[in-house]
Symmetry: C2
Subunit: 424 residues, 2 copies
């Protein structure tokens, strides 16, 4: 017998038929003797509708500043998960599975006070554990908790993954199953490279790089949390026939297990190729090469909430002026340019240049730590295809390369192939 | 300066424009210097949608018994009011009015454990009072509270009126304003008798009879609660232009005040004519006239949740057998008949007869207590129009008469006229 947390997203609970399908998945696990908690999102489209109302309301009221109180946003938007949780509990009950729904404040799942994008502070799993031990399935409204002000706080979009992992940690679950619209994590996006194949296992650190780089299977925060608490997290499909799956102890369902690297016996050098679209590049030409100039550039951008990613700064030849290049999301390009133009005197650059329509392609793998030449292979492979590299950044387990968007498929396929990731 | 509770129903908050309109009403009262709490229902149609899902879910799950856990019903359905409260708080804030939303469990508004139709046990008004005193408008999700099991409990359909009155009692409000789609309580339904006129005041006891007899302006329970706690309750229109209304101290807005009878200076003998459609009559012929027979008839009906209303039993001529006649809602007629047929031996009647398509017309007025001949006037007036009376029941302030549905308009108009209620 295992203790499981199962998580289903908005597409998997989009209507009553799909909620029933989720209930069948849950019933299968309960029938196999496992203790089960389920975390659900709002029915697909519902959160967007609620968020739309919240954003529209100040305009309807004739306000010039279309802002809204994040605490009220939370009160409105969290209602979507509450509905799904109640309906799933009803579905389970009518299938003979004992179940009850839980809202964030009932558990309680405590958060900090950052309404709209709260972080989980503490989850009290005791009540749910004792009910799971008595055979009751806990159906938990994802995405929400209760803040220090005793008001509903949401975890930010996609927060239900994080809810699920935090709950799994709190109830000491053996595994957190994330049911989604794909059957696992792939070596790269199959739409980019048809030769992509599903990974049976991936290390937390690798998944973190894959997730933050655009493999949108899992929220980055949920992977961080899973890594910190060592929660084995299993990505699997919610569209498989619930009754065709073997859930008995020791069975190997289809999916990808995100786990400690120690548990991955045959570690590849490179695990996957990720990419992020809609990047823009800004270059400041002939910036004075002196201490404090980086702060002068990135301070104002941070204040304007511009998310700066890859930063490249060369040492200047004569020690007086240099060029500074970095990337921002395409959607922030205008804002970033205005901020930098406004700070031109403080920074002291001569010309500002920018380019949009770029993508970042990344090679990810824990094996890189102990293997030399991984970066060189990437550069050679891209060069052989005539793909121009605009910037490079590296970390211990990742190499990121900025290129023109036109070359994205070619670059991903080339890298996927050069590291031996193509299907057998 | 007064302390006010304002209540708006589903039609008044059906979309963002109407919520904005409600915010204008609230802003007007706050700007006039009053301390304000607002109770809101779910946006029109939303509760029906949620209830529909709850009822449909067990069928989708393939259950033969389409029942559902009332606690889960509550968790799902209460979300509608939560959304409206948050949106109204946002609307108020964007109009410069300080406001925050409250869900039932946050106040807390404590109920008993009868999920789906809970009764209010206790409302803690302290937190809301201290915030009202600091100038913050409390926007309260109606229809909901928290049960002894720490789960959301709803008060039954239309429960937001009850929420509002209970909150008014808890915060010691000077008045509870019920904004609705009519501008007050009328002497009778204007669709029945065009001569009907709006009452400026009506006593709690009278309103209770009017409400329970079919004048659907206010929930019966909310009137009971207002009477018990002595909350002056003012029924008024939500469709008036918010800015055309004078809310200063001592102003007399359009509407009907439900209050203690002592506060009504010129008490009429008869205040109004109410009616209830879709009644059915059951007669048991030649029932043994002995102690315990009434219990034998009405015990099984109560067990089957059949709501018996008017009961007429004559003393038999020879003391051996009698006829027993009573009314039930038309929708319960089949069930009631089956129950009585099943209990034929225990009761010991000879024949069961029933008629549907009946209505109950009632004459209501506190003045009846001290005036003789009120009932006789009604019987004479109906007789003069050739309307056959099928049954009569009376209370201290009410005479109810059962007639064929065909005569409803004629009966209502005749009685309305005979008691001098027609417009001047």
């Amino acid at each position: 017998m295992s203790r499981l947390v199962m998580k289903f997203g908005g597409t998997s609970v989009a209507d009553l038929d799909r909620i029933f399908n989720v209930a069948r998945h849950v019933k299968r696990e309960a029938a196999a003797g496992h203790q089960v908690a389920v975390v659900v999102s709002a029915m697909a489209g519902r959160t967007n509708e609620l968020v739309g109302w919240v954003q529209e309301m100040p305009k309807v009221s004739g306000s010039n500043a279309p802002i809204y109180d994040a605490r009220e946003y939370d009160a409105v938007v969290a209602s979507g998960e509450q509905v799904t949780a109640g309906l799933l509990a009803i579905a389970l009950q009518s299938m003979g599975v004992e179940a009850r729904s839980w809202q964030g404040w009932q558990i309680p799942l405590k958060t900090d006070g950052a309404h709209g994008a709260a972080r989980i502070a503490d989850v009290d799993g005791s009540d749910i554990i004792s009910r799971m031990e008595r055979g009751q399935v806990a159906v938990v409204a994802g995405f929400q908790g209760i803040g220090p002000d005793n008001r509903v706080a949401t975890l930010g979009r996609g927060g239900s993954d994080t809810s699920a992992v935090a709950l799994a940690a709190a109830v000491k679950a053996d595994r957190c199953d994330i049911y989604t619209d794909v059957d696992g994590v792939y070596t790269t996006d199959p739409r980019m490279a048809p030769a992509a194949r599903r990974l049976n296992k991936i290390a937390f650190e690798e998944m973190l790089e894959m997730a933050s780089l655009g493999a949108k299977v899992l929220q980055v925060r949920s992977v961080e949390l899973a890594m910190v608490h060592g929660v084995p997290t299993f990505v699997r499909s919610s569209f498989d026939d619930p009754d065709s799956i073997d859930s008995s102890e020791g069975a190997s369902p289809v999916g990808t297990l995100i786990c400690d690297e120690e548990e991955i016996l045959e570690q590849q050098v490179v695990t996957g190729i990720a990419y992020a679209k809609d990047e823009a590049q800004i270059s400041l030409r002939r910036v004075a090469d002196k201490p404090g100039v980086a702060a002068a550039v990135f301070g104002p951008l941070a204040e304007a909430h511009v998310n700066v990613d890859m930063i490249v700064q060369n040492i200047s030849e004569d020690g007086s002026v240099t060029d500074m290049t970095f990337t921002v999301p395409q959607s922030d390009l205008d804002k970033a340019t205005k901020v930098l133009e406004g700070a031109k005197e403080q920074i002291g650059y001569e010309v500002i240049q920018s380019d949009g329509g770029l993508v970042k392609v990344s090679v990810v793998g824990i094996g890189m730590r102990s293997h030399a030449g991984v970066a060189a292979s990437a550069f050679n492979a891209l060069a052989s295809k005539g793909i121009n590299i605009r910037a490079i950044t590296t970390s211990e387990i990742k190499i990121s390369i900025l290129i023109d968007e036109d070359y994205i498929e070619l670059a991903v396929r080339t890298l996927h192939s050069v590291y031996g990731l193509d299907k057998d």
